[in-house]
């Protein structure tokens, strides 16, 4: 389970700051999930890949909901700064340092069990009791609960003064009905819609206390919450209703088989700077990272008044997948047996244009 640093929210500024942290947190799981998923492309693991992909899609939804919330609260989401991307391997944004270290790795059942399931582990009272929880930390569920509480408190205070904390420009609200039903991604304009949005985030991630499946109101199709979707992969069986089981559910459905054979042997936690500049791995890493940076720029515009920019963002997401494929088909320089992989680094114009004169002058083949 992820523990976040306990935060104090008293003012609207602190509330906005907490929601910005939520945006960063929702984003931060996407690179590790995507990296694992990229390594499953064309390996005969479509079922696992679709499960991870469905989680990634919902993390994107959560990021969008959090951005809508921040815009509704009169804040401005920031997605295009170098610090927006966490360092991998490392803790997630807002996390306590002693917590989980999240890497960029190829898919493995260990990664699912030790990292992805830890990230998504629901707030189970029994478990919480048994875990030594640092005094100044909180769970993701507690984090969102706190945001909900403070929205309620600050809004009722504002209302007493005849105003509201939902002062954002409604035209900044993103809906994307082509892909996300409006019951999941909708304009946030008041306390009710804000609470509804947060509930979707928490429900899709954790499920409810009694049911591992996401409330049908909060999903496009019947599906378990993220933690249980990952556990399906780990257990190798789908989760089904099972009256004979104590919890009423068991991993006894159709098998989910992992075919390890064709998964590329990506070296974990690659960094662009680790690739010698005169290698294809470096070139592809640079293009991957540039595409990723463009995507963050594009999303930043999307959530700062240019909602149509989401269409450009979609194009960049597909483009990113292509460059990941090229990296995974390229040998890792000086590391026999390994291939390169995506590093999800923010690149500046300078990084991109470090025109190496030696390269320019290099004799072409």
């Amino acid at each position: 389970m992820i523990f976040l640093k306990a935060i104090n929210i008293e003012t609207i500024e602190e509330l906005r700051s907490a929601v910005q942290t939520a945006i960063e947190l929702e984003h931060s799981t996407i690179p590790p999930y995507l990296t694992a998923n990229f390594t499953l492309v064309n390996t005969g693991n479509d079922e696992i890949s679709n499960l991870i992909g469905s989680v990634v899609g919902e993390e994107m939804l959560h990021l969008s909901i959090a951005c809508n919330l921040l815009n509704a609260l009169g804040g401005s989401p920031v997605l295009n700064q170098p610090g927006f991307i966490p360092t991998y391997p490392g803790p997630l944004p807002g996390g306590v340092d002693t917590g989980l270290t999240v890497p960029l790795e190829k898919f493995s059942l260990d990664l699912i069990k030790n990292v992805f399931m830890s990230i998504e582990e629901p707030e189970n009272p029994i478990q919480i009791k048994s875990m030594a929880m640092a005094e100044d930390s909180m769970t993701i569920g507690q984090f969102y609960q706190k945001i909900k509480d403070k929205i309620g408190k600050l809004e009722s205070e504002a209302k007493q003064k005849g105003s509201t904390i939902f002062t954002g420009d409604p035209s900044y609200q993103l809906t994307f009905a082509k892909f996300f039903p409006e019951k999941l991604l909708f304009p946030i304009t008041d306390e009710d819609s804000a609470i509804k949005g947060i509930n979707i985030i928490v429900d899709q991630g954790e499920g409810t206390d009694i049911d591992p499946f996401v409330n049908p109101e909060d999903t496009m199709e019947e599906e378990p919450a993220h933690y249980y979707r990952f556990e399906e992969i780990y257990k190798g069986k789908t989760l089904v209703k099972d009256p004979s089981a104590t919890a009423g559910y068991s991993y006894s459905g159709a098998p989910i088989v992992f075919n390890e054979k064709n998964v590329p042997n990506m070296k974990e936690n690659p960094k662009m700077a680790d690739f010698p500049k005169d290698t294809l791995a470096y070139q592809y890493s640079k293009l991957f990272n540039f595409t990723y940076t463009c995507l963050l720029n594009s999303l930043h515009l999307t959530f700062n008044g240019q909602t149509d920019q989401i269409n450009e963002s979609m194009g960049l997401m597909f483009s990113l997948r292509l460059y990941a494929g090229k990296l995974l088909a390229t040998s890792y320089p000086n590391q026999p047996g390994y291939v390169a992989g995506p590093s999800f680094e923010y690149v500046t114009n300078e990084d991109l244009n470090d025109s190496d004169t030696a390269l320019l002058a290099q004799k072409p083949s």
């Binding site: 492309v41 892909f179 005169d278 290698t279 597909f318 244009n353 470090d354 072409p364 083949s365």
Partner: protein, 562 residues
């Protein structure tokens, strides 16, 4: 006025062109005979999918910097201390996908165009200029540029276009150059560049990357966008030299000469022969030369290519009127004539067109004599018989598809507008949609064979589809098209969507409809190859609509594929 006029800047660096090459062999369009190995890289024994079967189609600037500027008064600098624009970067978009490089057709690969390219000038992370590059095809491709190298690495080509939708943020730059450029040409700019030393070796760290030098300058309404009316210089020995162009700036008493794509280079990019040359005019008549020296053309200069982009400025002093009056020649140090000006010249502005049955296109042609408009001159047209790309199938037939007018005559401004109408070619190539045609042109009193052989009009005319099929398509109707894309673009079919799989297409109908419906100029438009006819495009969109109407649900797996 164009990229050779003041105020202009030069830039240089690298570019990436990442076309997919499975479609470089026309026979690969035949679904019946397609083999899986056509999706692999070529090896010693088999051409397979040629040199880049996994191309993304992207085209982008890499590491391009502004190297020099020339002000309106004709003075130049390449020192950042003089003007902060020196050292700024020329880049493509930072918030959408890269532009695309696209062949007109598998049987006309010599006029590849850039689509959806954004051109930006940036300083650090600050965006100074942002603009859209108007779709343009390369021309003057010269396969003997780097004679010691192989494949396309030997070649050079030029692209000329205009930048539109320009946003400027120059106030804080304190750049004299940018202030001057904005004051004379804030709505549109002229841009031209030369590409060479392209690396086709997929094991090389520089794979898909080449060298680029270029220039950006003012553009004024009414001028052609893809050519510069000037002083066309014809190489006298095309095996070692290539076409050049120049303008005379009578205000500044200068001749500005673009030689970037005119001389041969060694594998290191340096000129094989960098001896200085002589510019002269030829007063001779009736085939006798009578040369008067005008000035020296300096090639022996380390800055000539990388800093000055192969552009030479020659002060004319009191010889401006001579240069305006007589044709130019360029001589080497042994007085051999390397280039002669084509005294009367006609050139099409845009020279690549896509047509559906019963559509027309208009080609703007510009006639000039010694750089001045040439009025009242008759221009003739002729379909080209010889194929200009790989065969089979047979290209350029049936000729009756193309309706060409009788000769047309240039107006007072030297301009003549050719209207070409296309009929339905009737699927002469079977497994490839439509047909490619070439239309040669020249003055009625000259020979087609005397033209720059790059100067012809390329047309891709699509087939029609039975309207009842368009209106109500089944999967079987669109499968052959989808199968072809799946075969020819393995990066797409293996990496994202296998378009030949009905389940995949149906499950992603929303996103596919979205990209198939985009504007062709959008870099996200599908197909990236822009070779889908009006009718087949409608048929696919109608099919996707029928899926969406039936299912009434959102794409079930789009986000799982991101």
């Amino acid at each position: 006025m164009a990229y050779l006029n003041s105020p202009r800047l030069t830039f240089s660096g690298q570019f990436q062109a990442d076309p997919s090459t499975v479609n470089n062999d026309p026979t690969h369009f035949n679904n019946e005979t397609f083999k899986p190995e056509y999706q692999k890289f070529s090896d010693g024994d088999n051409p397979n999918g040629w040199w880049n079967p996994e191309g993304t189609g992207s085209w982008r600037f890499l590491s391009c910097g502004v190297k020099s500027v020339t002000y309106m008064d004709g003075t130049s600098t390449s020192n950042p201390a003089d003007d902060p624009i020196i050292g700024m970067t020329i880049m493509d978009s930072s918030s959408k996908v890269a532009g695309k490089i696209v062949d007109l057709d598998t049987q006309q690969q010599m006029v590849s165009a850039l689509w959806g390219l954004v051109v930006r000038l940036v300083s650090g992370d600050k965006e100074i200029i942002k603009s859209d590059y108007e779709v343009a095809s390369f021309t003057n491709i010269w396969m003997a540029r780097a004679p010691k190298l192989g494949g396309d690495t030997r070649a050079a080509a030029i692209f000329q276009s205009v930048l539109t939708n320009i946003s400027w943020d120059i106030d804080s730059c304190n750049s004299r150059y940018l202030n001057e450029l904005y004051s004379v040409s804030k709505d549109k700019l002229s841009i031209q560049f030369t590409t060479d030393l392209y690396d086709m070796d997929h094991t090389s760290p520089q794979f898909t990357i080449g060298r680029i030098v270029g220039s950006i300058g003012p553009y004024f309404e009414g001028e052609p966008t893809h050519i510069t009316i000037g002083r066309p210089l014809v190489p006298q020995n095309p095996s070692t030299t290539n076409y050049a162009n120049a303008i005379v700036d009578s205000k500044l008493n200068q001749l500005v000469l673009d030689l970037a794509n005119s001389f041969q280079i060694n594998p290191d990019g340096k000129l094989i022969d960098n001896s200085n040359l002589q510019l002269a005019v030829n007063k001779g008549e009736n085939g006798n030369d009578d040369l008067i020296a005008i000035g020296e053309i300096i090639l022996n200069d380390a800055d000539w290519y990388g800093i000055k982009s192969g552009i030479n400025t020659i002060a004319l002093g009191d010889k401006t009127s001579l240069v305006e009056q007589y044709p130019l020649v360029i001589l080497d140090s042994e007085k051999n004539i390397l280039f002669r000006e084509s005294i009367e010249y006609v050139c099409a502005d845009k020279f690549v067109f896509y047509l559906n049955p019963n559509e027309k296109c208009q080609v703007d042609l510009y006639a000039s004599k010694l750089g001045q408009p040439l009025a009242g001159k008759e221009i003739e047209f002729q379909l080209i018989d010889i194929p200009f790309g790989p065969t089979p199938p047979v290209a350029g037939v049936p000729k009756s598809t193309i309706k060409l007018p009788t000769p047309i005559t240039s107006d007072a401004s030297g301009k003549a507008v050719l209207t070409i109408k296309a009929d339905d070619p009737g699927n002469p190539r079977g497994y490839i949609d439509g047909q490619v045609f070439g239309v040669a042109y020249n003055f009625s009193d000259a020979y087609f064979s005397d033209c720059n052989q790059s100067n012809f009009i390329s047309l891709l005319v699509f087939d029609s589809v039975d309207p009842s099929k368009i209106a109500n398509p089944s999967w079987e109707d669109i499968l052959p098209i989808m199968q072809q894309y799946s075969n020819l673009y393995p990066l797409m079919s293996k990496g994202i969507f296998n378009l030949a799989d009905q389940t995949i297409v149906d499950q992603n109908a929303e996103i596919l409809k979205f990209v198939f419906s985009k504007d062709r100029k959008d870099p996200n438009y599908m197909p990236a190859t822009r070779d889908l006819s009006r009718d087949k495009s409608s048929m696919i969109i109608n099919y996707l609509d029928s899926v969406l109407n039936q299912a009434g649900v959102k794409d079930s797996i789009t986000f799982k594929k991101l």
